[in-house]
């Protein structure tokens, strides 16, 4: 396929000169999009893993309450939780951790520990087990008035919906990019057919099949697409490296984990290969359709 003879002087066509550049830009954008989709998919999985199977119980402070009374209310809640089937552990979140989690919003200078902070209990479920949330909430309210239980369901659903929307958007953009690349190849191929109509006619008259002529164009399209594709891939690799290996630093709390696995890299670097195959097929189909109209 790569070394095949090309009987048509396709490399001299002005219309094909821009094709590698167009494909390189398309591949570059598609690779970055795909990398973004994979990062989001990883982030979703990471957040899911972190939050699924966990609840948080909040016990708000009561005015005038002593530390002893507050401790009693906390122990009652933990007692209810540990007696509930399906719950593996229920531990108080240290106030210092609660304070640390509030610090980004309240500022480092604020004496967070002096604020009336609620007691938080981190609840861990047994894997693959479910808990009757309605019943548990009732029991907690009876044991500790004002307590609340958060299964993070709303937040998880909202984040999942947002990520799904972003992934769909990215997939749509990738499809759009692929469509643009296909149109560029179709335009260049049609131009080539028009420019080399006489040569194509001679090839037909000396016994060349439509398939033989189509192979000439598809080989040329493949070469152009590989040239452009791997140029774009190289540029995308440099860009991703800048993000991944710390040239640009992000707050880890704000950014999802950007480590790519081997399967991620394989998927990303399949983009130029897939783009080349699409370009080759687009050229072939275009030529075969055009030749059907010729004598």
């Amino acid at each position: 396929m790569f070394r095949g003879r090309i009987d048509l002087p396709l490399s001299t066509d002005p219309a094909t000169r821009m094709v590698p550049w167009i494909i390189s830009v398309m591949v570059y954008l598609a690779m970055l999009m795909l990398a973004g989709v994979l990062v989001l998919a990883g982030a979703t999985a990471s957040w899911e893993t972190g939050l699924s199977g966990r609840y948080t119980v909040q016990i708000p402070p009561v005015d005038g309450e002593t530390a002893e009374e507050s401790g009693q209310r906390l122990r009652r809640a933990i007692s209810v939780l540990t007696r509930t089937p399906g719950i593996a552990a229920a531990k108080k979140v240290p106030l210092t951790e609660v304070a640390a989690s509030l610090e980004p919003w309240l500022g480092a200078g604020t004496s967070v520990l002096e604020l009336p902070l609620p007691n938080l209990i981190d609840v861990t479920l047994y894997p693959e087990r479910t808990v009757n949330l309605k019943q548990l909430r009732q029991q907690l309210t009876i044991a500790v008035a004002g307590s609340s239980l958060d299964d993070h369901g709303v937040w998880r659903r909202q984040v999942a919906d947002l990520i799904l929307a972003l992934q769909l958007l990215a997939a749509g953009v990738i499809i759009l990019i692929a469509t643009c690349a296909v149109f560029a190849v179709i335009f260049a191929t049609r131009s080539g057919i028009a420019v080399h109509r006489d040569v194509i006619q001679v090839l037909h008259l000396i016994g060349a099949t439509d398939g033989y002529i189509a192979r000439q164009f598809q080989r040329h399209a493949l070469r152009l697409a590989l040239k452009g594709g791997f140029t774009g891939a190289g540029l995308a690799a440099v860009t991703l490296s800048i993000f991944i290996w710390g040239v640009v630093e992000f707050d880890p709390l704000l950014m999802p984990d950007m480590r790519f696995t081997l399967s991620h890299w394989t998927a990303i670097f399949m983009v130029p290969v897939v783009a080349s195959i699409i370009a080759m097929r687009a050229a072939r189909v275009t030529v075969l359709r055009a030749l059907e109209q010729m004598q």
């Binding site: 003879r5 009987d7 002087p9 001299t12 040569v199």
Partner: protein, 224 residues
């Protein structure tokens, strides 16, 4: 092998350039097609090498009705026909060698055999030293010999030549006709369109004479 029955042909919506052409040619025939410029010689050859379709009538090539041929069948029939085009139609971006090799390559012949056959044939037509030359660097006569070599390299069963001696002097013209005679002796049918009456009279083969798109005579002897 070739049968025309009341064939008419027009280009697009234009007037008929060929009208009521009827004849048949058996395998191994040698025919000249003569007539003045514009008489329809090239158009008749185009029908034979399937570059055009008749607007009416029946054309039978190698026992197949050309109007019912599928695209792959047309390719198969074209591979049995060698054509020397009036304006040569050599591919300028290719060497003489590659031009002549083309019919073998499109037929899928192995490259070693292609090299052997093409080198032999180009040597035979006196172009051994011009294998790598581009057509534009060759003289008219040399280009014509390359065109003829391309037409005969795949040993066609039918050779159609449109003014094959138009660009060469009489000596080379006669030599080329002897080449066609040799091919005819090994079974290739030959149809040569020419307005060179002197050349036609030099060889004792039947002549189809065209006038204004009509076949006016089918002579067993050269036209006077």
């Amino acid at each position: 092998m070739i049968r025309f029955e009341n064939v008419g042909m027009r280009y697009g919506a234009g007037p008929e350039v060929l009208s009521d052409i009827s004849f048949s040619l058996e395998q191994g025939a040698f025919r000249f097609v003569t007539g003045p410029s514009g008489a329809g010689k090239t158009s008749m050859l185009k029908l034979m090498y399937l570059a055009q379709r008749p607007s009416r009538g029946l054309i039978n090539l190698f026992d197949r009705d050309v109007l019912t041929l599928q695209r792959d069948e047309m390719t198969e029939i074209r591979r049995r026909i060698g054509v020397v085009f009036q304006e040569f139609r050599l591919l300028d971006h290719m060497s003489a060698f590659d031009n002549v090799a083309l019919p073998l390559r499109v037929a899928g012949m192995k490259e070693e055999l292609v090299t052997k056959h093409v080198t032999e044939l180009l040597s035979w037509v006196g172009l051994a030293s011009q294998l790598d030359s581009r057509p534009k660097t060759l003289s008219g006569g040399q280009q014509q010999r390359v065109a003829i070599a391309r037409a005969v390299i795949a040993r066609p069963r039918l050779l159609l030549a449109d003014e094959p001696t138009g660009n060469v002097d009489d000596t080379i013209a006669v030599r080329l006709l002897y080449l066609f005679e040799q091919l005819n002796k090994v079974g290739t049918s030959i149809v040569i369109a020419t307005h060179n009456e002197g050349l036609v009279s030099h060889f004792n083969y039947p002549v189809f004479h065209l006038e204004d798109g009509m076949l006016t005579s089918i002579d067993a002897q050269p036209a006077a």
